[in-house]
Structure formats: C-alpha cells, structure tokens
C-alpha cells in the first residue's frame, strides 16, 4: 500500500485544527497540526509534508510571512484556508507564494479535491525525452526541469504545471478558465489564481517581467507562451 500523503496544518484555532484533522484523516491523509507559524516552519524543516495548509491570521509570525519563509527553500504546494475573503488578502497570499486560496468554511471533500489536484504531476502528452525549447528557455516536462540559458530555474510545482500547460500549445492562447481547469482542475473558479501565478512565473523566466518576451498576455483572451 502506498503511504498516506502527509499534510501539515498550520491553524491556531484548536477546534478547527481538530475537526479538519479528523476530516482529512478520513480522506486518507496523515495530518500534522501546528498552532503557530513558528511551530509549523520547524515541523516542515524537521519532517517535510507533501502539502501545507495555512491560516492567515496567526499569532506571532502571520500567515503571509509563514508562506514566504516556507517558499524560501521549498516547492511544496501551499493552500491558504482563511476566513478572510478580501481581494487584497487573496492576492497578497498568492503573491507570497501560495498555490491556492480557500475561504472558510470549506467542506473537507472540497479541500481534499484541491490537495489532490495540486499534488498531481504535470501531465504531458508529449514524448518524455524531448525538451520544449522557447528561445533560451528549455522545459523538460517529465524530468520536471526548466533551464534559462542553461541555468536551472527553481519553480514551484504549480508554476511548473502552469508553464507546461502553456508550453504544450506553443504560440496558442489559453484562456484563464482553460488554465484554471488544466492546472488547478477547477471547473470554474477564481481567475486571480492564474493572474498571480503568471506574474510569479514571469519573475523567474523573464529578463524584464514588465515587458515579457515568452509569457505574453493577450488582452481580453488569456495568455500564451511564444518561441
């Protein structure tokens, strides 16, 4: 039997932590709880989990800073589960490095579906050996590697899947809805996810993120990756 995926749950409310732990365990996850960002960061260093769930309003170091510190040396999928539904908070959390954002209350089944989607490897119909080349940018979907002028680029899993989704259709526009469906497996959802992730990706693969050479916006339609 495959070992159960481990989830680190950083949540200061004891009752929420306990109830989510029960629910996620029923869904087949091994859940580790942490009541503060400090505790969670230490736990992740000691014994890395496969995914991290984090609340934004935490005592001491807050959720945004926690995500930033996690991201510093980890490509683990991070999902924010917060009572805050303000656009500013959502965008700030995604920009800090979160992969998805769910507003409380969220059903455990929904949460589990999100976690499954984020943990999936990039799918690719292309031949495994070949690299996809866009100018100085080389993408190897199966190896999970991206290089820019031969130098490896560190991407999170979600960023990598987004890049692959676009790379599979060179020069072709994909709408935000299509990208949400392919990368996050949302039937319909929050398009800010796509926008913020595209922004993060540009900072890593573009020389000038303000005037992108590869990942360009097509006004009113979506995004495309061009050679």
């Amino acid at each position: 039997m495959r070992s159960m995926p481990a989830v680190l749950l950083i949540e200061d409310d004891d009752r929420i932590r306990l109830s989510l732990t029960l629910g996620l365990e029923d869904e087949g996850y091994a859940v580790r709880g942490a009541a503060s960002a400090e505790e969670g960061l230490a736990a992740q260093r000691r014994e890395p989990a496969d995914t991290v769930l984090v609340d934004l309003m935490l005592p001491g170091v807050d959720g945004f800073e926690c995500i930033r510190q996690l991201r510093r040396h980890d490509d683990v999928p991070i999902v924010v589960v917060s009572a805050r539904d303000d656009t500013h908070d959502i965008v700030a959390a995604l920009e800090a490095g979160a992969d998805d954002y769910l507003v409380k209350p969220v059903a455990v089944k929904e949460l589990s579906a999100r976690l499954r989607a984020l943990r999936r490897r990039a799918r690719s119909a292309l031949s495994p050996a070949s690299a996809l080349v866009f100018g100085d940018l080389e993408i190897r979907p199966l190896a999970g590697e991206v290089t820019l002028r031969g130098q490896p680029v560190a991407l999170t899993r979600t960023e990598f899947r987004l890049l692959c989704a676009l790379a599979e259709h060179p020069g072709q526009v994909l709408s935000r809805a299509q990208l949400l469906e392919r990368v996050w497996e949302y039937a319909y959802g929050d398009e800010r996810l796509v926008d913020v992730h595209v922004g993060r990706l540009r900072h890593k693969i573009e020389d000038d993120p303000g005037a992108p050479r590869y990942l360009v916006t097509v006004r009113g339609m979506g995004y495309k990756l061009q050679r």
């Binding site: 409310d13 929420i16 109830s19 029960l22 029923d26 589960v81 656009t87 409380k104 209350p105 929050d190």
Partner: protein
C-alpha cells in the same frame, strides 16, 4: 413649484435694483430737461410774439392799412405764423383757414377782453404755442409758434434715456451673475470634494486657507469627512471581524458534520436522523452566513473582466446537474465585461430560484436588445403575482411554493444578491410572465458598459 436658485434670485435682484434706479434717474432728468427747455422756449416765443405785435401795431397805425401786407412784413421764420383778427374777421399772410381753427375760443375770448394769453395746442402739424396779444381797436394779434423741434428733441432724449435704463438693467443683471459666480466658486470646490468622497476617495479634503471667508465651512466639512471615514473604517473592520468570527466556528461545524456524516451508517436510526438534520442545517446556515456577508459588502465596485456568458452559463448549469443545452445564445458575441464571480452567483441564484420555486429552469437565454445586453432565466412554475414582483428582490422573502413544501429552502437572500450584483453593474433585474406560463427573470445591463 421649485424655488429659483440663489444665482437666479441674486441676478434678478441686481437687475431689479438697476432698473428702479436707472428708470427713476431717467424720469427725473427727462422731466427736469423738459421743464427747462419748455420754459425757455415759451419765453422766446412770447418775446418774439411781442416784437411782432409791436411791428403790427405800428403798421396798423397808418391810415387804411393793408393788414395782410403788414403781416407779410413780419420776419416770422419757419416756425411762427401770425394771424390777426379785427372786427370778427381773420387776416393771415396766406389764405389758409386751417390756421384760424388752431386758436382756441377761450384764448380768443381772453384776448378780446384785452388780456394777453398763451396756450399749448395741437395743430395738424404737431404741437404748438398760441400766443395772443390784444391790440387797440378790438384787434387781436395771434402767433402760432410750432413746438415741433422741441418735441423732437424731447422725444430723442426720452429714447436715449430709455436705452440707457435698459442698458443699466442688463449691466445690473450681468453684475449679479458675475458676483454670484465669483461668490459661489468656493462652493464648487466643496461640491467637487463631495463628489470625490461619494466616488470613494475618502482622502479628499478642503484647504481652509484658500478662502478665508469659507474657513468655517471648510473646517466643518473636513471634520464631517474625518468622522465619516472613521465610521466607515470602523464598519469595515467590524464587518471583517464579524466575517472572521462567523466563519471560524462554521469551519469547525462543516468539518465535524462531514466526519459525522461519514459514519452515519454506523449510527442507530434516531442518531442518524439527527445527524442528517444537523448536516443539512449546518449547510443551510453556512449558505445564509456566506450570503449575508456577501450582501454586507456587496456595494464594492465590480471587478470587470471579459467573460463569455454563454460559457459561464453552461458551466453553472453543469455544476447544478442541469443540461448545458438549456443555454440559448442569440446572434453576436456573448462576451460581457462583468465581475465573473458575481455573475456566476447571479446565474447560480437564478437557476436555484427556478429550481426551488419555479419547477425547474426551462431555458437560459442570452442576447442583445436596443442598447442593453440581457440574460433571461425561464421557469415552469406558477409565475410571480404582479404585486410580488418587486418584493421578491427584498431580503428574506421566500416564495410560497417553497414554504408549502416545507423542506429546506434557500436562505431568502438569493434574489436580493442577484439584485445587488446587477445594480452594482449599473443594470436592472425584473420578473415578468413567460409566454406560455411560468416566470421569466430578466437581467439587463447597459451595452456601453459591458
């Protein structure tokens, strides 16, 4: 009737003042000038008449004088005409009898009684003075002195004075208009600041130092905005706190009832029923809280992006287990610039409403009319009574069929949210009868905004 504006009233006041002032000045100066000129003219006329009378008197002193010849010898110029009456007969230089009619009978009587007299008369050729001088031997000498020239002068004067009065009145009105504009200009600044604040810029303030006279207004205006901003901020923080405090226990409830639900089959009948009730009520409570919080913050500006409404409608149908074939898109583009999240909710709530109260959705129609884009959701229910058609968009109003059925109905906020979302997009939503029965909910947005 609406009271005219301050500016109109001040302008009218200035104009009236200028009119009264200039009209009385004009009347006064006209009267004074007329008196002076008339008196002067009369004096001249009398002097000339007496000179003529002296000449005539001398001429008549001879034996058997030729009266007409004597009269002809007078230097009367163009304005004076002399006639003489002796023993009931009239004598004139020319044989124009009309002239004699100009001499009023009363004046003639006075002269015949030996008294000189003067009278203003109106002749065929305009106003004139008739001066009668009694001469010996029952003779009366009359001079008819035309006042036409004086009359013309006075008429020109009156015209000039009237024009000046009109001009002064207009200038007064203009001054009033200008002064009020100058005086009201600082109020325009206040109005502009108020507009900015209405548009959401709570940092807009007035500078009390720019207009010393309006310093108090500016100061109290700024204080008002400060308080308003503070209150709004307090409200926002309160709403955020409420949101957090409500969502947190709901999260525990949602996760815990999820766990309970999973183990329902292992519970006895009574406990299982209780768990079912609990799960359903938690779900409903969750919807209610989410909808209420959404309503509470619903007047935020929409975040517009191009959305293919036909696609979105099909997706929303699919998530509710309905066929995507329900969606009928008319001719032309179905891409609207709207807030995707809110319109997902609009579509979802209209479909849910059709499901709960209208026997299920019959069709979702998208199209363009004169200057609007529209979205219609038809259902198969009993329709909405005319008196209920506005009320159903209020909060906590539920349709009767649902109450009669008694099962878990909606939150009573679904259509209120639809109304709020459509309104913040500058559109409107209303319900009509569907041809062939059932209700038709129609959302219209102005075409130039989508």
């Amino acid at each position: 009737m609406r009271r005219p504006g301050l500016r109109t009233r001040v302008t009218a006041g200035f104009a009236t003042g200028a009119l009264v002032l200039s009209a009385s000045m004009a009347a006064l100066s006209y009267d004074l000038t007329r008196r002076t000129l008339t008196a002067g003219r009369e004096r001249t006329a009398i002097r000339a008449a007496y000179q003529d009378a002296t000449v005539v008197h001398a001429g008549l002193g001879t034996d058997r004088p030729d009266i007409v010849e004597v009269l002809r010898s007078l230097d009367t110029g163009g304005t004076r005409r002399a006639i003489l009456r002796r023993d009931g007969d009239w004598y004139a230089r020319n044989a124009d009898s009309g002239l004699t009619d100009s001499v009023p009978a009363s004046l003639r009587r006075m002269v015949e009684q030996g008294r000189p007299a003067i009278q203003r008369v109106r002749t065929d050729s305009g106003p004139a003075l008739v001066i009668g001088v009694p001469l010996p031997e029952s003779t009366g000498f009359y001079v008819i002195d035309s006042l036409q020239e004086l009359d013309r002068t006075l008429r020109v004067l009156a015209l000039v004075l009237t024009l000046v009065a009109i001009g002064t009145t207009a200038a007064g009105a203009g001054l009033g208009w200008y002064v009020t504009r100058r005086a009201l200009r600082p109020l325009d600044t206040v109005a502009a600041a108020a507009r900015e604040i209405t548009a959401g810029d709570l940092d807009a303030r007035l500078d009390p130092s720019t207009e010393p006279d309006l310093e108090r207004l500016a100061t109290s205006f700024n204080e008002m905005v400060d308080q308003l901003a503070a209150r709004l901020d307090r409200d926002r923080r309160f709403a955020a706190d409420v949101s957090h405090e409500l969502r947190s226990p709901l999260q525990t409830l949602a996760a815990a009832t999820g766990v309970l639900d999973r183990y329902r089959s292992q519970l006895d009948q009574r406990a299982a029923t209780a768990v079912t009730l609990l799960t359903e009520e938690v779900a409903r409570f969750q919807m209610l809280v989410t909808d209420l919080l959404e309503l509470a913050r619903g007047d935020e500006a929409p975040r517009r992006t191009p959305v293919d409404m036909a696609d979105l409608a099909r997706q929303v149908c699919l998530t509710r287990g309905l066929s995507a074939d329900l969606v009928h898109a008319g001719e032309g583009s179905t891409v609207w610039r709207v807030d995707r999240r809110r319109f997902t909710q609009v579509l979802g709530n209209l479909l849910d409403n059709a499901d709960r109260h209208g026997g299920g959705a019959r069709a979702v129609r998208l199209g363009r009319a004169a200057d609007v884009v529209f979205l219609e959701v038809d259902d198969d229910g009993p329709g909405v009574r005319p008196e209920d058609r506005d009320v159903i968009f209020d909060r906590f109003v539920r349709g009767r069929p649902a109450r009669a059925r008694g099962d878990s109905d909606g939150t009573g906020l679904g259509l209120a949210l639809v109304h709020r979302h459509v309104t913040t997009h500058g559109g409107r939503v209303f319900v009509t009868d569907r041809p062939g029965g059932g209700a038709r909910f129609r959302v219209e947005l102005p075409q130039d905004q989508v």
